[in-house]
Symmetry: C2
């Protein structure tokens, strides 16, 4: 744990929603790929800054979600950015392996083409390999 982070001023600037969350976009720092979007609460932001490993808040599990804890597909933080009205975060990360639970590199792997969402990237890893059969 780093002890030189003084996060209170950082947290106070964030415009949390009514549930105490803020959306966070994860972008691969060197290629520019958008990997995923998820949510953070105060503890997730603090832990991410302190450990430099990205930690989200899982709305379905109602708890901290240390990305890659189960799958091994961790995200290492390169930089954390905030937008002009304070209600969205951008995490520049170094993604180990794939970001998506489907085994795809990016969660944004479907594109609107006429009247359907067309798959634009196939799984690179079998999810059973990531999460156990």
């Amino acid at each position: 744990m780093r002890h030189d982070v003084q996060p209170n001023a950082l947290l106070a600037t964030i415009a949390w929603n009514d549930a105490g969350l803020v959306p966070c976009i994860a972008q691969q720092h060197d290629t520019g790929e958008i990997l995923m979007m998820a949510w953070m609460n105060r503890d997730a932001v603090l832990e991410t800054l302190a450990t430099r490993r990205v930690c989200y808040y899982s709305r379905s599990r109602k708890g901290l979600w240390r990305k890659g804890e189960t799958s091994g597909q961790q995200q290492h933080l390169v930089a954390l950015r905030l937008d002009c009205d304070g209600d969205a975060l951008l995490a520049l990360v170094d993604q180990h392996g794939v970001a998506c639970h489907t085994g795809r590199r990016s969660c944004f792997s479907w594109e609107a083409r006429d009247d359907t969402w067309s798959e634009i990237d196939a799984p690179r890893v079998d999810p059973a390999t990531l999460y156990g059969a």
Copy 2:
């Protein structure tokens, strides 16, 4: 208006939140810059697909927000993507001028450095020029 878009199947796949909205990330299609994040409702998605000009839903003004309508800083849609659980959109766009109402190219222009959000990009246009004095 394009009449070959059959959007109902597209809309039905989106996991709208309780307010009938979905977050949308805007990324410059060629450079990979993350420009902004805003929200869309059903009409905003339909209009964006039909006109190929990005239209959001303004939560503060409670109405459609045709990006660039006032400022001239329009976003032209290159592709619209959906994530694996259907609750976030990624718009690849061609941004005319700056995306941020502060005159900065990107809304994500503050970076966490120790205990402060440091400005990492300066305004390129005076907002008074964009919106009138």
